[in-house]
Subunit: 427 residues, 2 copies
C-alpha cells in the first residue's frame, strides 16, 4: 500500500534548514516516504534546485505562511521565543496541523499554552531537534522509557560551554581567550550569554523535566548559573583532586518536589558524564527498570539537528493519530530552591599568608554545620604574601555554606571573594 | 478519542516474562494504553492476581497458542531458535498478527523467512529486546537514524563476557575462577559457551547489520571468536600498553562489502567504548550526519529487557499500519573474510631466553610485510629460563600475520603457541 502524501512547509533556511533540505534530498527521503515541500520561507535567496525541488514556492517573509492551509506539517527553524516563529507555530496548531521545531526557547517558554492548543485543536508538536542535537533523547523518554519511571536526568546539554571548559584546561588558557577561539570556530555566538550563562541548558532542561515527569516545568523555576566565572586555576585544582568541571543540567522528581538546577560543578573523573569532552553532548537517565542509561552525541550542529528534524517527520509519517494516547496529567509540584540543596562544595579562599587563617575559617564552618573533607594549601608564587586554600566539604545545606561564606569573606585576612563551586556526587 | 483495545498473548513467563507482566501492572500500562492479556502460556504455575490480571487464561503448553486467533499481538519470551518458539512465531506471522520477541537466535537465524512472511501476510515483527537490553538501539537505527547513512557500528553486546574480562583484571584472577563467580551471581549460564564464545554477540550483530545496512546478514557469515583463551597476563600487558581487552562486535559496510566480526580485542583506554565495564553494554554508531553516537545501558537483565518489550508494544499502539513504509531492498553484498582484515595485532611470544630470538622473529615479520610498533620484554620469574616477548604491530593483513605465526611457532626457541589478539583502532 502506498502511503499518503505529506505536505511540508519549511520556515527558515539557515544552517539547520539547509541541513534538513540537504538530508531530505540526499538520501531520497522525499521520494521514499512520499513527502512534498510546496512552500519554503527564506529571508535569503535560495536555490531550490540544489535540493532537487521543483514546484516549490519560496516566500521571503515567513508571515506569508499564516495565509496557508494546504499543508500537513510546519517545520519551524527560525528560532526565537517571540515574533514570527511564535506566530506561525501558534497559527499552525490552531489549524490542527503538525508542527516540527528546533526552537527550544519557544517550546520551553510556552509549554503550557502549546499543550493546550494541541488538545483543543487536535494538533501535534514534535521537538526532538530542540534538545541535544544528535541524541534522540525525546524519543527515548517519550517512547522507550514511557513505561518506566524516570527518577533523575543529568547531562551536558550545551556544546559551546563544554568546548570552552575542555579547551581551557587542555590549552592552558583563560576563559576569555578560549571563548574568542570558540567564536572564531563558529561554536559560540558573537553575543554568547545564551550559551555560557546556562540559559540554553535551562531551556532544554525544562523541556526534559516536563516530558520525563509529566508536569509543566517553567524555565523561570530552573535555578541557572553559567561558566563565566570559572577560572583556569579552579579547573586545575579540581583535576588535582580527581574531578572535572562541567556545566550540568540536573532534574530530579521526588515526593512532588522538583529539583531543576543548571550550574558548573565538579564531577568525579571516573564518572561517564565526565568523559564527555569538547563540543559533545551527554545525558544520563536514571529509571526504575533500566537503572542507568547513558547517551552521547554530537552537539546541535546543522547535521545532527537536521537528523532530529527528519526523525520527527518520519515519526509523523508512521504514527496513527487515531490511536494516539496523550497522558497529560500535569502533575502539581513544588520547586526545590537552590538554597535547600544538600551536597558538597569546592571552596577556594585567597588569604593573607599568616597563622590563624585556617582556624578562622574552620570556626565559621563549625558554627554552620559544615565539615571539611579535604584541604589543599597552595602557594604558587614564593614572593607573594598571599595564600590559596582549597577546601572540599562533606554534604551540607547550601544555605549554610552561603551564610558561612558571607561571614568568612568579611574576615580581615580574606583578600578576594571566596570561590564556591558545587560538587555533584552520583553514587 | 479512546484508543482501540489491543489483545496480547504472552508466551513464556521466565525471568523476562515476569518482568514484562510486572512492568505492565506496575505503571498502569494496561489501563492507560488499553492493553488486555487474554492468554498467557507458562510451564510453571503462576499467580496472575499478582500482576492485577483477571479473566486471563493460562496454558501450561505454549503450543495451545497455535489454536488461537482472537488476539492482536504475540509476545514470545520462550527463546531458542527451533521448537515451540519458532512454531508460534511463524504461526502468528502467518495469521497477520504482530509479534514482539526477545529471541535473538530465532530472529537472526530466520531473518529472511520472517521478513518474507511479514510481507506476504501483512504481519509485523518487533525485537528491541533481542539486542542490548536497556539500550533502544533498534529504535535508534530504525527510527532516529532512518534518514541518515550508517557507516559502522561497534559495541560490547554481551554482559557476561564483559563482566568476566573486567573482573579478571580487577580481581586479579584467571578466566575459570571469574567464570565460576559469574555463574554463582547468575550472570553466566551453567553451559556458558553461547556467551563466552561470542555466539550471542554474533546473533545480535547480524540483526544490527541487517537493519543498519538494509541487507540479510546471515549469522554464519559473522566471523566469531570468544574470550575463552584470554589469559590474565594478556589483560595486564595490554593495560601496561594503554589498552583494555573487550569482546567486540563490529560491522562496517563499504562498496557492497560487509565486514562483520566478533572477537576480543585491544582498545585504547581513552576510547569511550573502553569505559563500558562490568555487565554493562555499550554501542557506538558512526553515520554521515550524526557522526559518532554512543549509547550505554544495563545488560539484558529482566527489567531492561522488559522495558524493551513494552516499548515495542507501545510502538505498535501508536503506529499506523496503513502508512507503514517498509523499504526492504535487501542489498546484495559480499562478506569480507577475516583473513583479509587489515589492522594491527598484539602478539605474545614465549621463548627460550637466549640470544637470536628476536632476530628470528623479526626475520619472519620482514618476509611477511609486518612491521613492529612496540616491544616489551618480560621476565617475570628470575629462575625461569623462558622469556616473554610482547609485540604490537603496525597495520598489516591478517593473512600475513597468520602465515608469519605458523613459521614462528615452528622455530625451535618458541616453547608455547604464540598468543595473537587483534588491536582495534577507531581513529
Amino acid at each position: 500500500m502506498s502511503p499518503k502524501l505529506t505536505r511540508i512547509v519549511i520556515a527558515g533556511v539557515g544552517t539547520v534548514g539547509n541541513g534538513v533540505l540537504d538530508l531530505l534530498a540526499k538520501n531520497k527521503i522525499l521520494q521514499n516516504f512520499r513527502f512534498e515541500i510546496p512552500y519554503v520561507a527564506s529571508r535569503r535567496k535560495i536555490n531550490i534546485r540544489k535540493f532537487h525541488l521543483k514546484n516549490t514556492k519560496v516566500f521571503r517573509d515567513a508571515k506569508s505562511i499564516l495565509e496557508l492551509n494546504d499543508y500537513d506539517v510546519l517545520v519551524e527553524l527560525i528560532g526565537g521565543d517571540e515574533g514570527v516563529s511564535k506566530k506561525i507555530v501558534f497559527d499552525a496548531l490552531k489549524k490542527g496541523k503538525k508542527v516540527v521545531t528546533a526552537n527550544k526557547a519557544l517550546v520551553s517558554k510556552y509549554w503550557d499554552e502549546i499543550n493546550k492548543r494541541c488538545t483543543k485543536y487536535n494538533s501535534l508538536i514534535f521537538y526532538e531537534a530542540a534538545v541535544a542535537g544528535g541524541i534522540p533523547i525525546i524519543k527515548v523518554i517519550k517512547e522507550f522509557l514511557l513505561s518506566d519511571k524516570i527518577r533523575k536526568i543529568y547531562g551536558i546539554l550545551n556544546g559551546t560551554s563544554n568546548f570552552i571548559l575542555t579547551n581551557m584546561l587542555t590549552k592552558n588558557e583563560d576563559f576569555e581567550k578560549i571563548l574568542k577561539k570558540a567564536q572564531e570556530l563558529g561554536y559560540a555566538e558573537a553575543e554568547p550569554s545564551f550559551d555560557i550563562d546556562g540559559i540554553d541548558t535551562a531551556h532544554k532542561l525544562s523541556i526534559l523535566a516536563s516530558i520525563a515527569f509529566n508536569l509543566n516545568c517553567s524555565v523561570d523555576k530552573v535555578s541557572t548559573d553559567g561558566i563565566r566565572n570559572i577560572e583556569l586555576m579552579d579547573l586545575k585544582y579540581s583535576e588535582e583532586l580527581g574531578y572535572k568541571i562541567k556545566l550540568l543540567g540536573i532534574i530530579n522528581f521526588k515526593n512532588k518536589e522538583l529539583l531543576s538546577f543548571v550550574y558548573p560543578c565538579l564531577i568525579d573523573k571516573r564518572e561517564l558524564i565526565s568523559s564527555v569532552d569538547g563540543v559533545y553532548n551527554g545525558i544520563v537517565v536514571e529509571s526504575d527498570f533500566c537503572k542507568k542509561s547513558f547517551f552521547q552525541g554530537e552537539r546541535a550542529g546543522a547535521e545532527p539537528t537536521a537528523t532530529s528534524v527528519v526523525s520527527d517527520l518520519l515519526t509523523i509519517k508512521n504514527s496513527s493519530k487515531k490511536n494516539k494516547t496523550i497522558i497529560n496529567s500535569n502533575i502539581k509540584h513544588k520547586s526545590l530552591k537552590i538554597d535547600n540543596r544538600i551536597g558538597s562544595y569546592y571552596l577556594r579562599f585567597t588569604t593573607i599568608d599568616k597563622s590563624g587563617v585556617i582556624s578562622g575559617i574552620t570556626k565559621e564552618f563549625k558554627k554552620n554545620n559544615i565539615s571539611m573533607k579535604s584541604m589543599l594549601q597552595k602557594d604558587q608564587n614564593p614572593n607573594s604574601k598571599n595564600a590559596t586554600i582549597v577546601v572540599t566539604t562533606h554534604n551540607c545545606l547550601e544555605k549554610d555554606i552561603k551564610k558561612a561564606l558571607t561571614k568568612i569573606n568579611a574576615l580581615k585576612f580574606i583578600i578576594k571573594k571566596t570561590v564556591m563551586i558545587r560538587i555533584e556526587n552520583f553514587k
